[in-house]
């Protein structure tokens, strides 16, 4: 087990700044999610933590120990790759035991066998130890990958979009399993994902990245409710947050840099739906489309050429073309400077 600290971590691929002076610090036993769109530098950051890439500048600490000169095999990390990277020329058992077999001094055969059995039980592969890895289903391949990285009892677990190739049901199952394992053994985990639902649901801390830069580093709810800039606000949230020019909406808004304009943002689920003429309504918008999701509806509305999404209840589903009043509760409003795109101190209250 170990805490991790990234200190001004930078990776420059010949002029392409993949990771730009990233500072992150997590305590031992934390589940950290690196969240961002593809190409944001999260995988490069992960590879540097694992030692597969050497930082251009900056340093990685496990505990107090600087790691950039420590070879990957000596860092005591387990790595689960997106495309499994299991060894198809071996059986499941050989795959699982690989990390032990290349270790020096090599553990005894009985030791290896009992470890393989134990890990196989944990990941649910007990019955297929002798099967060729190339004959496994995608789901089982990922279990092998997970088991193979667990067997060496790493102090840090690194997972690079490990479940994104799995089908939805199994993905949900594995997510829960992983969270369970993490909770049980208090393992430090770093989890790379572009899926904000995964990050929100699993992580203790989320580091949102974009274009190589760290955008925000905070616990999930803070990321969700107090995004530090417009990018984070737009990237996090399964139904996209609404952005509107603040001056067009009749709400008291702060001023931006040099008294410049600001953008107002509000999450769909915080928008109240009322009758069109109601005195409470902040604005009145027209219904374009209703997406029934079961428990809730996503209502797409238009107002002054702006698209707005709100969450409705199936019991009170509006018809397309209806006008409805939208209430923007003041305490849920966020404001972003139009020049810097940074958050301006808004009225948000948790």
């Amino acid at each position: 087990m170990a805490s991790i600290r990234l200190d001004q971590l930078t990776k420059d691929f010949g002029g392409l700044l993949a990771v730009d002076h990233v500072d992150v610090e997590i305590e031992d036993g934390t589940f950290l999610a690196l969240l961002g769109p593809s190409g944001c530098g999260k995988t490069t950051t992960m590879n540097m933590i694992a030692g597969l890439e050497t930082p251009t500048s900056g340093e990685i600490y496990f505990g107090d120990r600087p790691m950039s000169r420590v070879p990957p095999g000596k860092r005591s990390v387990g790595f689960v790759f997106q495309n499994y990277a299991i060894f198809t020329h071996m059986t499941v058992a050989q795959n699982l035991s690989f990390g032990l077999r290349v270790r020096k001094p090599r553990p005894s055969k009985t030791e290896i066998d009992s470890e393989v059995k134990r890990v196989a039980e944990v990941v649910g592969l007990g019955s297929m130890l002798q099967r060729k890895a190339s004959r496994l289903s995608v789901n089982d391949m990922q279990k092998v990958a997970l088991g193979r990285s667990m067997i060496v009892k790493p102090s840090i677990f690194l997972l690079d979009e490990p479940f994104s190739n799995l089908d939805a049901a199994f993905r949900a199952y594995m997510r829960a399993e992983l969270k369970h394992i993490q909770h049980e053994i208090g393992q430090t985990m770093v989890y790379v994902t572009h899926d904000q639902v995964e990050a929100m649901g699993m992580a203790d801390q989320i580091a949102v990245m974009n274009l190589g830069e760290l955008q925000q580093f905070a616990p999930p709810l803070e990321i969700y409710n107090r995004p530090s800039n417009k990018f984070v606000a737009g990237f996090v949230g399964s139904t996209r947050i609404n952005f509107l020019p603040a001056e067009k909406v009749a709400v008291p808004a702060p001023k931006g840099t040099d008294g410049g304009s600001v953008t107002l943002a509000i999450r769909p689920e915080y928008i109240g739906l009322v009758d069109p003429g109601s005195a409470e309504a902040t604005i009145t918008a027209k219904v374009d489309l209703v997406e029934p999701l079961g428990a809730t509806d996503v209502i797409h509305l238009s107002w002054n050429r702006y698209d707005i999404r709100a969450i409705g209840r199936p019991g009170a589903r509006p018809r397309i073309g209806d006008n409805i009043g939208l209430v923007f509760p003041f305490r849920h409003l966020l404001f972003f400077d139009d020049q810097t795109h940074e958050a301006v101190n808004g009225p948000y209250q948790a």
Binding site: G73, N83, I86, H89, V102
Partner: protein
């Protein structure tokens, strides 16, 4: 419509048969020739399509099973067993050398972009020269370092000549393989070399087998290089085949055909033995998974 598609099918079958005849005829001619006695090799004014007095003498002769030549006075040996052994040693050694150097180079190029973008093309360019163009300088060089008519000489030249093939074939196999395979082994505690031998190489063994066979066939069937760079100590089978001629009989078509057929066997047998890998190996690079 019905008549139209029948016609098309007929045309297709005809084309297949014609092309098949074109390609298989030399093989047919070689097989029948190898069983013909001398009188049927090249009789004036006649074409003999099928041996009328089939004989195994040609085979016995090139395999050294007859002590004395029964057909005509023979100045030089017609026993091909030594040249065949030489061919195995020369082609096998050259193949191993090309594989060792080529596989490592290919991995370096595919994984670490060793040598920059142009290196693969610079290597490929080695194959742009016809062997004839470089064979005389090579002869002089080998003579200088006392490797003329030695297996080391042949190995070096065969290895160098087929190196480019190994690099290009293996490079595509390595590129197809997810780089995470090697990285996973490294994270698990392997060195770069350990990851290469334990995780990466076993995953491309189909491609490796196909490449090895391909290179072996190239070396095995070489004529020009061995003709110039060997005399008698390391004469290879194709060169020996060419020498099967005599004042009395001119070209000894029968023994030549028999030896030719024998020389087809090793690549054919190897091909069948690794067929399982071969199909996958040769189509591997062609399919986007």
């Amino acid at each position: 419509m019905e008549g139209h598609s029948t016609l098309k099918a007929f045309g297709r079958v005809t084309a297949i048969v014609l092309i098949g005849i074109l390609f298989l005829f030399p093989l047919y001619w070689m097989i029948t020739m190898s069983f013909k006695p001398q009188s049927e090799w090249n009789p004036i004014g006649k074409t003999i399509w099928w041996p009328q007095n089939p004989t195994l003498d040609n085979y016995k002769q090139v395999l050294g099973l007859t002590n004395q030549n029964t057909q005509f006075f023979q100045a030089s040996s017609t026993d091909a067993t030594q040249p065949i052994i030489h061919s195995f040693i020369a082609a096998g050694g050259g193949t191993i050398l090309a594989l060792v150097a080529g596989v490592l180079a290919a991995y370096g190029i595919a994984r670490f972009r060793a040598g920059g973008k142009m290196l693969p093309f610079q290597i490929l360019q080695l194959r742009m020269f016809p062997p004839v163009a470089i064979i005389i300088p090579l002869l002089i060089m080998l003579a200088y370092i006392h490797l003329f008519d030695t297996f080391w000489g042949l190995w070096l030249v065969y290895g160098a000549v087929t190196f480019a093939f190994v690099v290009w074939l293996m490079r595509s196999f390595f590129q197809e393989l997810p780089r995470e395979i090697g990285e996973a082994a490294i994270v698990d505690g392997c060195s770069q070399w350990g990851a290469f031998f334990k995780a990466v190489l076993p995953n491309v063994k189909g491609g490796l087998a196909a490449t090895a066979l391909f290179v072996f066939i190239l070396n095995w069937s070489d004529f020009v290089i061995a003709l110039v760079l060997t005399t008698d100590k390391t004469t290879t089978a194709p060169v020996f085949l060419n020498s099967l001629q005599s004042a009395a009989a001119g070209q000894e078509y029968g023994p030549q055909a028999a030896l030719g057929l024998i020389l087809i066997l090793p690549p054919a047998i190897l091909g069948l033995a690794i067929q399982r890998y071969l199909v996958r190996g040769l189509t591997f690079g062609a399919i986007k998974r």
